[in-house]
């Protein structure tokens, strides 16, 4: 069994030059929020859950999320073998009726 695991929903809003994203888990608890500057291909983490709020975690997260954002939309799987991290993004059906 995994020791560290975050799963949930990632909601992204494309605002033209930037994409804003928020990740929250099954219970609705926010775990991560970030902005992606398309032109500069830079990630800015605006909010992160306490356990992950370490400078070295955020630094690596920014690098990995940049790679994720470059490959979206569609199914994205990124593996960071050095730190044994795996990111899996699976698009949900775009049901906006709610």
């Amino acid at each position: 069994m995994r020791k560290a695991y975050i799963s949930g929903i990632c909601v992204m809003i494309d605002e033209g030059e930037d994409i804003k994203a928020a990740v929250f888990n099954e219970f609705g608890v926010s775990t991560l929020a970030f902005e992606y500057r398309k032109k500069k291909e830079k990630i800015k983490i605006t909010q992160i859950i306490g356990a992950m709020n370490r400078w070295y975690v955020k630094r690596q997260l920014k690098k990995d999320l940049r790679n994720v954002m470059k490959q979206l939309p569609g199914n994205v799987v990124i593996e960071n073998k050095k730190y044994e991290l795996k990111y899996t993004f699976i698009p949900l059906s775009n049901d906006t009726s709610e």
Partner: protein, 216 residues
Amino acid sequence: MRHFLPFILTACMACALHAQHNAVTKEQAAIIREISAASAKIVSMESDFVQTKYITMLNDKLVSKGKIRFQQPDKLLWEYTTPYTYSFIINNNKIKIRNNNRTDIIDSNHNKVFKEISRLMMMTVRGNSLTDDKVFDVTVKSEKKAQGKGQEYQAILVPKRKEMKQLWNRLVLHFDVANKILSTIEMFEKNGDHTIIEMQHVVLNKAIDSNVFNVD
């Protein structure tokens, strides 16, 4: 006598304030007893729910719907049906997450976030979140319902444990006054996000197939 009077007045005010504090506390204790007594009779629960998540950063909200099944003492199935299919099962310390074709099993003892969340969900559904003073500071009151129809009991829970404090500023539980059943859960996060979970069509103490809680 001139010097005595301020002393007497101060003593009287102190007594009046003390008596008032006792009256409020007794009322709260009575409400908690009513809710706890009703919760103690719950062996199982099935419910539909509507979950609305207000996301401050995106200035938007996400509405999802699903079903809950609970079996005493420690089994919970939480299933989202729209706009996505997603479910997780808590069975003792094991958590099973199903998402499309993928299934993951987590030991909550090794995952602090899941451990605290599953603890909260179990305590809330079981009804002992109001009486475990090691976990929450609790204030209860009788209030008018938001829609203006009738009264409800509101319990405001402020986390005491460090792990829960990192997730929530406070939780507000709404109970129907007539049957003391949990009707709504509100979760207020430190970042300003706000989640509302409304229970609908609650069925109590109906037999539930234990296989639905299987995590193996």
